[in-house]
Subunit: 240 residues, 2 copies
């Protein structure tokens, strides 16, 4: 099975959460947005296809044969059992992993909304004053709350604090790594202050980065750098 | 199986999306937050239990025997096959329903953020100026986009435009009904303008309201009115 990932090129963005799962599992996939042969026109063609019986609202979406799945958490839930990234034969465990993933997705949206509090159709420069207020609440309250929550989840895993659920990595662990990487880029000062209070989260991020397939991916050209077009943006004035 | 729903009382909020599924199916459930015997202390006790092996981040969460499931979309996905609210034996159909549900949840969050663009910890009155700007983008761009998307999805259903997927209601249809009901409350002027352009969405909302179990529920005291403590709030100055 060759998976096809549809996501905008030149930003890691939401697509990166899917890429990390595919890379960790060594899956065969085509990154449509980054492929010279397909690229943005192929994504736009899907979005503009008024005859599609099941039109996605927005990228990312994944094609797996005849199945089209959209939304990060939904795609990861689809891939989880296929890539060995969820507990086997454990329904409660799978819903727990997915609950964590949805919390991660909410957190990601809050990170995005710090630089876009008024609307996605406006530039950051058009909502700078609002973003500053938003950043102060995010860094003062929300960032410690989310980091502390995942630190606590790790401490409560009966199988130890290496991974969020059970004793091997799930897609939620890969996503938590990406959150930490992105937050370090966007809010380096805030993260420097908060990471020592949440050592198990930092240790998990390091553990993910050392997985052989992930390490090879991070060293490759397929791993795109964070930048100010994506979700995790570094604006020094927002890193209070 | 008696389900236990954990959600704050006195607002329909996110809990309402779960209640509608349980009510449509005539399921046996206990609304912990609204129960005189349990109420808020029971919810707080769960959230404050530092020994819980799988602590939820926030309500709503659902207990079903030993399983705890959190997040609206995750709970609905758990309940879907149990309550007959997803296509049977159709994996692609179920991921399609869940993709629609996640789009509905994103839409719901945008509705919330119109009156809380800076931060959830501040009152509306502390972010009124930002909310006004946010509302103008939401009503001008996002609301027509979301309504138009679901109108289009209905028009593309090969089984007809009565329901979003297949020929019987899924949990996503019930959630779309709740979105329309809430938006009519929060933004009556905008919805009066936009609904005629999206007749299949309005017709679906009417169809849900006429389902016998839903009609009985809506007429009961269990259905809580919208108010300015919830997600759908009517502030006339935001209904441009």
């Amino acid at each position: 099975m060759r998976y096809e990932l549809y996501y905008w090129p030149r930003i890691p963005g939401r697509g990166e959460f899917i890429r990390l799962a595919l890379e960790e599992a060594g899956a065969d996939y085509l990154d449509i947005g980054q492929s010279a042969e397909h690229g943005v026109p192929a994504i736009s063609a899907c979005l503009d296809d008024t005859q599609a019986p099941r039109p996605p609202f927005a990228p990312p979406f994944l094609k797996a044969g005849d199945i089209v799945v959209s939304h990060v958490a939904n795609i990861l839930q689809f891939l989880g059992p296929r890539l060995g990234l969820v507990p086997e034969d454990d329904e409660a465990g799978r819903f727990w992993v997915q609950g964590l993933q949805l919390t991660l997705c909410d957190w990601l949206l809050e990170v995005h909304d710090v630089h876009h509090p008024v609307g996605v159709s406006l530039y950051y420069e058009q909502q700078r004053a609002e973003a500053r207020r938003c950043a102060s609440v995010f860094i003062g309250e929300r960032l410690p709350k989310f980091l502390g929550y995942f630190e606590h989840v790790l401490s409560r895993n009966p199988q130890g604090d290496a991974w969020l659920v059970g004793e091997s990595p799930t897609y939620a662990d890969l996503s938590l790594f990406q959150m930490v990487a992105g937050l370090r880029y966007a809010f380096p000062q805030a993260m420097q202050r908060l990471e020592p209070e949440n050592p198990a989260v930092s240790a998990l991020a390091a553990r993910v980065a050392e997985r052989p397939n992930i390490a090879a991916y991070l060293a490759s050209e397929r791993r795109q750098p964070f930048n100010e077009q994506g979700i995790f943006r570094h604006y020094p004035e927002l890193d209070g």
